[in-house]
């Protein structure tokens, strides 16, 4: 009997998997250029207002940023264990890894929430009155801080949903994790969101520390 994971118009699972993975990589290519707009704008303004950006970068909370980076790196590690386990047929272990990944994602979101709260208490939102930094470029830096981290947070939230989807769909039929390309595709997306964060961390939290 063909697996329930096999969908139209495919005739075998391997072909389906390869194509789904290609589709996800193409989507990630799109995502690179989507975030690319932020990276490009940030780079132009950092070039035009170098000193202001360093001063503004110093105001970010490096503790939250660094802990969150570690949380995401570990989550990526767990996710990669999950997708490898699914491929190897170790479904119980895989179904252990996915919730851990998702919880780590939620830890990130929680810390991010606390960080946003701190930022707002310090009036570090450049659109509102009382923004404390006098340099022209500082406002730009913080505008990009908010846009970039919020867009990243939305992506991470989608990722958490996708990981839970794996858990739900494999509840009655763990073999699905192996047949369907979902585990591999979800893991690609999860790792990509982490890659974006690694760059955001270097661009947002690290400038102006020396």
């Amino acid at each position: 009997m063909p697996s329930v994971a096999l969908r139209e118009p495919w005739q075998d699972l391997g072909h389906q998997r390869n194509s789904a993975v290609l589709g996800m990589w193409l989507f990630l290519g799109t995502e690179i250029l989507f975030f690319g707009g932020i990276f490009a704008g940030y780079s132009v303004y950092r070039f035009l207002h170098t000193a202001d950006f360093l001063a503004a970068g110093r105001e970010t909370n490096i503790y939250y940023g660094s802990v969150n980076t570690l949380v995401l790196l570990v989550s990526s590690f767990v996710m990669s264990l999950g997708s490898r386990a699914a491929r190897a047929g170790l479904f119980r272990f895989a179904r252990l890894c996915f919730p851990v990944t998702a919880v780590l994602g939620m830890v990130f979101l929680t810390l991010k929430g606390f960080e946003y709260n701190d930022d707002l208490e310090k009036h570090l939102f450049p659109g509102a009155s009382g923004f404390p930094l006098p340099e022209a470029g500082a406002g730009l830096f913080w505008a990009f801080y908010w846009v970039a981290t919020v867009v990243h947070t939305i992506h991470l939230t989608v990722g958490i949903g996708a990981v839970f989807r794996l858990q739900i769909l494999s509840r009655d039929d763990p073999q699905w994790l192996n047949d369907s390309p979902s585990a591999e595709v979800t893991s690609l997306y999860w790792h990509f969101v982490d890659c974006i964060w690694v760059f955001l961390y270097a661009l947002i939290y690290l400038p102006g520390r020396s």
């Binding site: 690179i32 690319g36 490009a40 790196l73 190897a88």
Partner: protein, 96 residues
């Protein structure tokens, strides 16, 4: 969990564990270096280390190292196109 399962899990986890170790070390280096007074090379160091971390994630966690050529091509094409923007965009900003 049977001992056989445990063995297989350990076998699976070996490579990712090493990668995680590398990632954490690179992360520490990035954080530490940002406090060193390197002038404009702070940015260079930060970005190079970040790029190395992303390369580790892409190669081992996203398994590009064992992917087919077409998947690798799809993975790098976005980066290339972003570089087009940087090269031509900065052709303006650097010469104004």
């Amino acid at each position: 969990m049977t001992p056989e399962e445990r063995h297989r899990i350990i076998a699976i986890a070996r490579a990712p564990s090493l990668v995680l170790l590398g990632l954490v070390l690179l992360f520490g280096a990035n954080l530490g270096l940002s406090f060193a007074a390197l002038g404009r090379f702070n940015l260079v160091a930060n970005l190079l280390i970040a790029a190395a971390m992303v390369a580790l994630i892409a190669l081992f966690f996203m398994e590009l190292i064992r992917s087919s050529a077409i998947h690798r091509l799809a993975a790098v094409v976005g980066i290339f196109w972003l570089m087009f923007f940087f090269v031509l965009g900065f052709a303006d900003y650097l010469t104004r």
